[in-house]
Symmetry: D2
Subunit: 303 residues, 4 copies
């Protein structure tokens, strides 16, 4: 149950079998940092090239293909006072005929983050919003493990191994479960957002560097097909694909499996329960793979 | 500002230019009933054939193409104690390879509704859920106006005129705005659900007949493109299409228009605001057209 | 086996239960005309409002729901010398980020049709193409029967009843089969194209009025689910939906059924045959419902 | 202009930066072999594990990111007499409700290939097809270059770098153009099909090992975005994505660029030309990314 302080000096813009930066054991906690999507750190200095650079990979001792890696996001918090967003909704998110009516220039907006107060305030550009203020709601945009079949997959996209899911529900206190595809699992994380709307429809949250603390747990011999998660209120499954319909199919199928395998429900009970109680969240509709989240309130689970 | 008590004796399973059952004026309130999706009334008697039979159409005096009709759902409540659901998740909602692993027989489940306590309890079939109880959350599955271009469109599907959107957010207290395409607007409603999960993934909510009270308001010369709505907390826009991606495009585009036209926001402000504050709900992923809802908290609107 | 000369004086921009213009019997032939998509006739005179106005409906005596109506397109030919096209590819057909790089103004192009030579020559606008000449390949963009469930559906779109499929394979000599949903079937036709590319990606073919001759055959008690067709070389099934993936699912499923029901193939044989011999054509990717065509060469059918 | 005889002894089931097996120069020809999808060679011996194992990578001297690699498929021919196919259409290719009506067991079919006569004859299983015979039409299912951003991508799927496109048009005589993303381009190829239907809807063509001869040409400083190709009759562009709609968007956009950049057409001319002359082929609708091909007859190109 060690606690590791880890200061990254190398970052990867893809998830795959790279040299591990640290070996950790089941139950260990890591305190580390992530740079923002553009490769800027807590001093707003460019320390690596952009494109969702990832901290890691962390090698989890004894993790083998067919296991499940649980990652508890103990604490996620911006570690600097400036955040940036894009300012034009992506053309794939609006009606094709409306694309030419949108702002032409995608300038960057700057936001001042007040960590004490827990707010983000729009500084520029000048718009009718003025100095618009939002509550911080820090979440991790991209994290996951090395994918299967020897692949190395860009941190711009996502699949069964996690990756760039940009789901606003991945906040402090959530535990996320990833299938293990390679020895050591190889955990990566980055792309912190101080705030993000559903869908990440401008292509960014409020992008910022993060202090991160997480704790891993290894579930030996537990096989899952897609990322799963839980928070105080819900259990969740995540599907990553295009179109959204397919992402929803993946997430729903994984939820059915979870209920039948781990909660002792028969098939008929599972279908009746989900039919009247399922909830869906839209993760991202910007990245190459979209993300749909299937949720069920824990209060509805059999006891 | 009349209050009309209306007892339907004819129902339609499509929305279009049919003989109005009642003429009402701007500001009027109607107290009426709807039968369930199968055509059964408050005595659980079959009074019309199934397929989402609609009460109406109500002719709103002075409504003309190019206007907007506001419908406030004052009160929606089940008026009998038995509700029914399907019990198998639709094959289009799971991975294609998983379809053959699902229950073969789509038996009907029966639920006992306790109107006093506000609960629905599963009576049959026998499953591991036992006598599973859910809080009532009554919503209207299908409502809307006559569509454009002389069309008559089945109450199984939805489009710009509303229809079978099966969105669990359409509860008592919500005001829904429809574009008016024909003289009198011609308002229809039916397909009440005592409870429904997101997506209506088994193809039904807990289907039941309803007592309904609604009040109309006519917005002369106000043109909208898709259904809009508001409740205490949010403004909402609704897109109906397949795939979900296209429904999301329709809803997002309509929200952009609404913010720019009615709330005095410039384009840049609108895009920045939605980028970090937008929310999406999944309406249905069962009907021929899927439904996606775009939401914005009223607290973020300019004052 | 009568031959009817029919001169239309009413047109509909939707398909549904309207007053029939002519009653015809099984085996009868009709010689008639269609106006172009904008309502212009053989004299290029506007005789009705635009939006794919349809000639018909023709009532086929004895046709009842559950039958199939075969329509042989005996002869389709432009009956005037001017045709028109749009000149900008639809924004839904290109990458969303490319939309703003396309021509802004969608001017109309004019083409001179030489019926004798069988050519269409671009007259204006002036482009690097100059006086570009194409061989005529006349096809019917929109035709079909009254849809099910009392619906009236716009001639801008398509579904199980046919409609605006904009498939360049619907040329002289093809026989098309439609499911009959209402007494008399109620056959409509219009939207002739002198030439059209796959997908109708600019939203038009070379739009022109037509002389049309067709012959109907009634297949009593023969039930089909989607339009089917045959020409000298192929049997074809048509799926209309969005996205293209769903249109392809409809067309493929209908082809499987056809092979198993009418050609004496077992399921295994059907799947092996289609696996190695199936062909697909893209009908339209412009209209509200896209069209995908599934084809099989007759030479591969069991004898 | 060397001719290299290359006998592979290592295969990869993903495309990316692996150790090159051979360095070749602009203009060189390679004569080599590919194993079938399951890793079986010309003696039907398992020589590597399955999953579309690839011959290569071939390092093209002087190729750098931003160049284009032209690969002429001089000759593709099966080099053994047994081929195998799956026998059930994939569930994503039919209506979701039809999935449970399909054959349960996906047995393998065996085909006898007569290289002299150019035929494939079904040997087993026993079906109503009997000893069904098809003409050989050998094509390469999977080939491409190393992808961008340091990625290694499975040979089960495809993207801008090519990969598992399963397009029946990739036959002897075709020249295919790939964007170069890494030094040396790193060309891979495998997954030969003796015959294949459009879409590869059973998930296989007639899978067989191949003799392959190809010739490379390096187009320095020529930048393309997606694979392109040409044969005697057509120029072609290839889009790989889901849904088919997005694959079609990619292919169409790349064709517009090609016409405007290399054939001296203004935008208006390009749009008019494609509007009436474009053709589409369905590549595959089985793999994780679907493939759509956009084609234009060379006879319509400006001279």
């Amino acid at each position: 149950m060690a606690v590791h302080q880890f200061h990254p000096d190398v970052y990867y813009t893809a998830l795959g079998v790279y040299e591990p930066v640290l070996q950790i054991a089941d139950g260990d906690t890591v305190v580390t940092t992530t740079v923002d999507n553009a490769g800027r750190d807590s001093f707003d200095q460019q320390v690596t090239s952009g494109g969702n650079p990832q901290t890691g990979p962390f090698y989890i001792i004894d993790a083998e293909p067919g296991d499940t890696l649980a990652v508890r996001l103990d604490k996620l918090w911006p570690n600097r006072s400036i955040g940036r967003t894009s300012t034009v909704i992506a053309p794939n998110v609006v009606d094709p005929y409306y694309v030419t009516e949108m702002p032409e220039e995608n300038v960057h907006a700057e936001w001042e983050l007040d960590i004490e107060k827990g707010t983000a305030t729009l500084i520029e550009p000048e718009t009718k919003l003025g100095r618009f203020t939002l509550p911080l709601d820090p979440m991790l945009g991209c994290f996951g493990v090395a994918p299967p079949r020897g692949q190395i997959i860009s941190s711009a996209t996502s699949s069964t191994h996690g990756g760039n899911m940009d789901y606003r529900g991945f906040v402090s206190g959530v535990t996320v479960y990833f299938p293990v595809f390679v020895p050591g699992a190889l955990l990566f994380m980055g792309d912190g957002h101080a705030v993000q709307g559903d869908g990440e429809i401008v292509g960014t949250g409020i992008e910022v560097s993060f202090d991160v603390q997480f704790t891993v747990q290894l579930l030996k011999g537990k096989k899952i097909n897609w990322p799963r998660a839980e928070n105080e209120e819900h259990i969740l499954t995540i599907g990553n694909a295009r179109p959204l319909d397919q992402a929803l199919q993946h997430a729903t199928t994984e939820m059915i499996r979870w209920l039948q395998e781990d909660f002792g429900l028969d098939a008929r009970a599972t279908h009746i329960l989900l039919g009247q109680c399922v909830e869906y969240d839209v993760g991202n509709v910007f990245d190459p793979a979209y993300t749909m989240v299937c949720k069920l309130k824990k209060q509805f689970l059999p006891t």
